[in-house]
């Protein structure tokens, strides 16, 4: 790993809370300073809600870990102030190649749609993302925002009460206790909070091991995703090569189930495997090696009274499809505006149950896609291998078989169809992609882009029609955003939001999902849709 990330980024410091006679009460504690926990905390702090992040460590993650960040994540990160940092540092890619045994069977292009601020995907080591987020925390602090990270604060006990949660926390100076109104548990797949509360985390275990290695090399491999099924250098298994910034390459090698993990991780065993894959003549250096197994599973519920789980603590998928960290960002994006409305006394805490409904549906979608990819990549029966190989063989010569080749279905944001927060569609001839429940697709607008123009609250988008600049309803201010499709000569904005219609209004949630839409400004309808979107109808 890059040397400058080995130093503690948020070293332990003794806090006055540790000397308090009675445990101090906080509004929100976030446990875990990974990408999801940091994103949650920044979102809260940007809304003016005091938040403390507790982490058992004091530095960014070691090794690249999550490397593939989707457009929706960059859009969310942009609202949190780090989207451009991630997009600039990240490696953009669109081309993929699929190999079967000793030959290439086909290649594909993600063909990203034009007219979006951010690319379809960038590859970026998780430690860069975490470092950008920690820097963002520092600049918020410098501007006086109520946010802090406490390093080497390990939660060892948690208990729920009627109106708060108590935590016992271990530090280098010994234990102390805290109380909080709300606890957001972003403490990863092995979530200690989940275990301490005795909550289930059930699903399907995939009996397989994957060696994951970061290597640095000056090689001519293009910026593409290369995936091998049953290659000569890893017979009967799979392999993946993917480029990251700084001349670092991610290599995943499937190893099978009955292996000696400690033995396989030794450089003297890893290096010959990599040499066989990369070619004898390619010089490389091994930066990081890990062996992982995976499961596809989720908690039965993500909200447990005043403890709310987000990211890997709530659900876990295989890495194929980049649906782990990306879905974690969508979790916190969904949760934080709701939590703010509850903390502000505007919404009833039952609004948080919609986090459960919406994000459980999303987790199910991710688990389904991820399980299917895994079943294709690592066939678990003789007949599934026969079909898998038949698809790969046919894909070399016939286009019809290529859509069945599944080396990961890449993460897309979920549409919250059927959510109780949606209002009926009053623009039924409008584009399906912007129906109630859908995440707003970006579009060009003048010199910039649409999503940049949406604030952190509820927005009423008025396209080719009038709407008031402000509308107060149920304690919430809806900001009117009048726009004309003439501001986008490419026609993308009109195609994505009007379709056959000539005008429309959209009520957009703080997480940029569509709550309702109409073919004109409908004041009574907008007010009712707002109440519904905050769980008051």
């Amino acid at each position: 790993m890059t040397k400058n990330f080995e130093a503690p980024l948020y070293p332990y410091e003794r806090h006055a809370d540790q000397d308090a006679i009675r445990p101090r009460r906080h509004k929100v504690l976030v446990v875990g300073a990974g990408p999801v926990g940091l994103a949650a905390a920044i979102d809260l702090a940007q809304s003016g809600i005091p938040v403390v992040v507790l982490d058992d460590n004091d530095k960014v993650s070691s090794g690249s870990r999550a490397i593939c960040f989707a457009k929706r994540t960059l859009e969310i990160a942009d609202r949190l102030g780090v989207g451009h940092l991630m997009a600039t540092k990240g490696v953009e890619w669109n081309l993929g190649k699929v190999f079967f045994r000793d030959r290439k069977v086909y290649d594909f292009n993600l063909l990203p749609e034009d007219g979006h601020q951010f690319p379809a995907f960038v590859n970026l080591q998780q430690y860069y993302v975490e470092s950008d987020l920690v820097n963002r925390v520092r600049s918020l602090q410098a501007a006086g925002a109520p946010i802090e990270i406490r390093g080497r604060n390990r939660v060892t006990g948690v208990a729920q009460h009627r109106d708060h949660v108590t935590l016992t926390i271990d530090t280098p100076d010994g234990a102390y206790s805290l109380e909080t109104e709300w606890l957001v548990a972003c403490d990863g797949a092995g979530s200690p909070i989940r275990s301490q509360l005795g909550l289930d985390f059930v699903g399907r275990v995939f009996e397989d091991n994957f060696l994951i290695a970061d290597v640095t090399m000056e090689a001519d491999f293009p910026t593409e995703r290369w995936f091998w099924f049953d290659p000569p250098f890893n017979q009967g298994q799979s392999a993946l090569l993917h480029k990251q910034p700084d001349g670092v390459w991610r290599i995943d090698l499937q190893l099978g189930w009955d292996i000696d993990k400690a033995e396989e991780k030794k450089p003297e065993n890893v290096i010959p495997r990599l040499r066989a894959m990369l070619g004898e003549e390619v010089p490389f250096a091994l930066e990081w090696v890990s062996i992982y197994t995976f499961q596809c599973r989720r908690m039965a519920r993500f909200r447990h009274d005043r403890v709310i789980f987000a990211g890997d603590s709530a659900h876990q998928v295989s890495p194929f499809g980049a649906r782990g960290a990306n879905s974690g960002f969508q979790d916190t994006d969904n949760l934080i505006w709701k939590l703010k409305l509850v903390l502000d006394g505007i919404a009833d805490d039952s609004l948080l149950d919609s986090y459960d409904t919406e994000r459980i549906a999303a987790a199910e979608e991710n688990i389904l896609n991820s399980s299917r990819s895994t079943d294709f990549i690592t066939p678990k029966s003789e007949i599934s291998r026969v079909f898998r190989n038949a698809v790969l063989d046919l894909s070399e010569h016939h286009a019809f078989a290529r859509p069945m080749v599944n080396s990961g279905r890449l993460s897309l944001p979920s549409v919250y169809d059927g959510s109780a927060l949606n209002s009926p569609d009053h623009l039924p001839t409008g584009p399906a992609r912007t129906r109630p429940g859908a995440p707003c697709p970006d579009a060009p607008l003048g010199d910039g882009f649409l999503l940049q123009r949406l604030g952190g609250g509820f927005t009423l988008l008025a396209i080719n029609c009038d709407a008031p600049a402000h509308l107060e309803e149920a304690g919430v201010t809806i900001s009117g955003l009048p726009l004309v499709t003439a501001d986008d000569p490419s026609g993308a904005f009109a195609a994505r939001y009007l379709g056959a219609a000539t005008a429309a209004t959209y009520l957009i949630r703080p997480d940029q999902h569509v709550a309702a839409r109409w073919h004109r400004f409908d004041e009574a309808g907008t007010r009712a849709a707002l109440r519904r979107a905050i769980g008051k109808e």
Binding site: V386, F387, N389, A390, D393, L394, F400, A401
Partner: protein, 69 residues
């Protein structure tokens, strides 16, 4: 009008020829090669049918009673 029901009445003009063609296609193949051929054939025919509902009905029909075989 597309068919939305699996055809379970005779639909091949020369059934003996078609059956012989299936057997002929496997001639000289090992068990492994025959399995590969069958899998390819199923995928090609599934694409030809193109209707997931009919495919589903065909799968149910093929599965019925197979555990007694």
């Amino acid at each position: 009008m597309p068919h939305h029901d699996l055809i379970l009445t005779p639909n091949l003009a020369t059934p003996d020829d078609s059956y012989a063609a299936l057997l002929a296609a496997h001639e000289g193949l090992s068990k492994e090669q025959s399995d590969a051929l069958n899998a390819r054939l199923i995928l090609i025919l599934a694409n030809q049918i193109g209707d997931p509902e009919i495919l589903k009905q065909a799968l149910v029909c093929a599965r019925t009673g197979v555990e007694d075989v």
